[in-house]
């Protein structure tokens, strides 16, 4: 199915992609071309902030795929995001080389600080970008594969599955907090200098990362739309609505769940890998169960099973978070909780559902 055929039936998706192209072209242009004195100038800070939102949007897209379409309420998707982020972080750590505080050409600073003399085996290869990029896909993907295989084969569903996904991300958080794990413990990985030889502080690099993020989000959207429009997408919806019925017409339900779960984990890993160079740090806090809960709220706010709704939800909630935590930091969590309750009670189809209701059509 060509992209044009795919999008011909997806009016919301066309609007979404058009907006994404506008954002991806105009914001960098406003940043690069206008003088700083101009009221329309976009600062590097704002550009990076929006880049961060787009990463969250990609993560929300991944969650919508498993939850909205597959009915698998994963409360641990933050773990896949963080693993992708760590893989990219490890690459940039090794790129620092002897420019660290201790000047060790091989070991990152925190290892020197721990009196380690050798690079652990799992850090080998991360000095090469292609290897790190591969790990960004493989590590979250393999974890999702093993975890999903065990869970889906044992027919763990519903709230039990949600609880063990929470446990998964919590266990990883505790593990990554330990210094002995060799991932920088509490502080995580930071003080990155450059990526592929370009300084992370440079304007051009920031713009490049921003545009790459927008592009990845657009490609991921098209890929997800392809998946949900395919027969596999319909089987996944069938599993969501009547799992045992799907089994009785001859589909191995656990493989379909596993497929969509792994695909979604890989997308989350990519989101994490794009996130880390833009924010400049990755630490175990990203594994926090709270993060994974939050991103389910983004999807619920935007509208489940719409794909673009999830991205919209992620951007809106995070924008509000930025505003709220600047003005009234102590109120934010209450606001977030209230938002979730309100959306669940009054907007079961999220903001997108509200919009299409206004236009008098079904979401």
């Amino acid at each position: 199915m060509g992209i044009s055929v795919l999008l011909a039936r997806d009016a919301g998706g066309r609007v979404f992609l058009a907006l994404l192209v506008l954002v991806g072209v105009f914001l960098p242009a406003l940043h690069l071309l206008l003088p700083e004195t101009s009221p329309l100038h976009i600062s590097a800070y704002t550009l990076t902030l929006i880049g961060k939102y787009l990463c969250y949007g990609l993560l929300a897209l991944a969650v919508d795929l498993v939850w909205g379409f597959g009915g698998i309420l994963s409360l641990g998707h933050g773990a896949f995001f963080a693993l992708g982020g760590y893989a990219m972080g490890m690459h940039m750590m090794r790129q620092i080389g002897d420019r660290g505080v201790y000047g060790n050409p091989l070991l990152p600073d925190f290892m020197v600080f721990l009196n380690w003399t050798e690079l652990p085996w799992y850090w080998l290869g991360f000095d090469r970008f292609w290897f790190a990029a591969l790990m960004v896909l493989l590590v979250p993907g393999s974890l999702a594969f093993v975890f999903g295989w065990l869970a889906f084969r044992s027919r763990v569903t519903g709230v039990y599955l949600s609880i063990i996904t929470q446990a998964l991300t919590y266990a990883l958080m505790l593990a990554f907090f330990r210094n002995e794990m060799g991932f920088g413990g509490n502080n995580g990985l930071t003080d990155f200098k450059d990526l592929l030889g370009f300084s992370l502080q440079a304007d051009g690099t920031r713009v490049f990362l921003f545009v790459t993020t927008a592009l990845c989000l657009a490609l991921a959207y098209v890929a997800c739309r392809f998946v949900v429009s395919s027969k596999l997408g319909r089987v996944v919806v069938a599993v969501r609505d009547a799992e045992s019925r799907t089994r009785f017409i001859g589909y191995r339900v656990e493989w379909f769940k596993l497929w969509i779960f792994v695909f979604s984990a890989v997308l989350s890993g990519i989101a994490g890998a794009l996130y880390v160079p833009q924010v400049g740090i990755i630490n175990p806090g990203e594994f926090s169960p709270l993060n994974s809960l939050e991103l389910v709220i983004w999807v619920a706010v935007g509208g489940r099973a719409t794909l673009y709704g999830a991205v919209l939800g992620a951007i809106l909630v995070n924008y509000s978070k930025t505003v709220f935590t600047a003005i009234l930091p102590e109120v934010w969590l209450f606001a977030l909780g209230a938002l979730f309750v309100l959306v669940t009670l009054f907007l079961p189809h999220g903001l997108i559902g509200l919009m299409s209701q206004r236009r008098g059509e079904r979401a």
């Binding site: 199915m1 609505d241 045992s244 019925r245 017409i249 589909y251």
Partner: protein, 274 residues
């Protein structure tokens, strides 16, 4: 509502769409397509099936009746792999051991099941429901890139006409009437092209008119397929049955034509609670 559409029961029929396609290992040369022998299933000490022995012949239309709790649904669960018996053997043809297979494998071997409660995929369209049920490669990657070819489209069209829902093809299955959902489910069975159809209470909740059409449809399927119908509605059973099996407390009480069965003293006792 449904009055406008006539179920086509043309016996010459759209052969390509609904003919059973057997697993190559399916061997029915000895007559029976289904062998259940000595099947026992217990739930917490309660014997749902008690040394049940039952044979279904190739091409036969068999009705199974029995009071509530006689083990009719449990028997279907055993055949389709949902429940594992404590004891006994279940063979599909001579060679295929059903107790070694799981639900999807049994479905792909050629046994289709229609549930008591109509269970269609409500969010998908009528057409898509049939498309998913269609006999084809059901692994993940082939499913991702699956495209309908002309033959497959024709097959779906044929079944849409057979079940009398050609006008509703784009409609969401959840918005169909109760009777239409039952037919759609039978249509999904046909798309699987099974050799053996297990049909659990097909006319529950149907109007008289709908019941009659369903009877015609099931009768037209027998011969090309083996059909096992579990039903409470005696009038309906009488209208389709050639051979009736009465289950009671997990085993076969008696077998025979409807008239023989209805005059059997034990059957009368079981049903009237002597």
């Amino acid at each position: 509502m449904t009055g406008a559409h006539v179920l086509t029961t043309n016996p010459a029929g759209p052969a390509s769409a609904t003919d059973g396609v057997a697993d190559p290992r399916l061997d029915t040369t000895h007559g029976p397509i289904l062998y259940l022998e000595d099947i026992t299933v217990s739930f917490d000490g309660f014997r749902a099936l008690n040394q049940l022995t039952l044979y279904i012949n190739d091409g036969e239309l068999r009705c199974i009746i029995g009071p509530n709790g006689a083990g009719k649904t449990t028997m279907m669960d055993v055949i389709t792999g949902k429940t594992r018996p404590d004891r006994g053997t279940a063979f599909f043809g001579q060679i295929i051991d059903l107790l070694e297979l799981d639900e999807p494998a049994i479905a792909q071997a050629g046994i289709g099941r229609k549930f008591q409660k109509p269970s269609v995929f409500e969010e998908l369209s009528v057409f898509e429901n049939l498309e998913l049920a269609m006999r084809t490669d059901k692994r993940t990657w082939p499913t991702l890139f699956a495209k309908l070819n002309g033959q497959q489209r024709d097959d779906i069209e044929d079944v849409l006409h057979t079940i009398g829902l050609p006008e509703q093809r784009r409609q969401r299955a959840g918005s169909l009437s109760h009777g239409q959902k039952q037919w759609l489910e039978i249509g999904m069975l046909l798309m699987q092209r099974p050799k053996l159809l297990l049909v659990d209470e097909p006319v529950a909740g149907m109007t008289h008119q709908e019941t009659e059409r369903t009877a015609e449809l099931l009768l037209s399927l027998a011969g090309k397929h083996s059909v096992v119908v579990v039903e409470h509605d005696m009038e309906f059973v009488r209208s389709i049955a050639r051979k009736v099996t009465v289950l009671h407390e997990g085993s076969v009480l008696t077998e025979g034509s409807m008239d023989e069965v209805q005059q059997d003293q034990r059957v009368i006792e079981v049903y009237l609670g002597a």
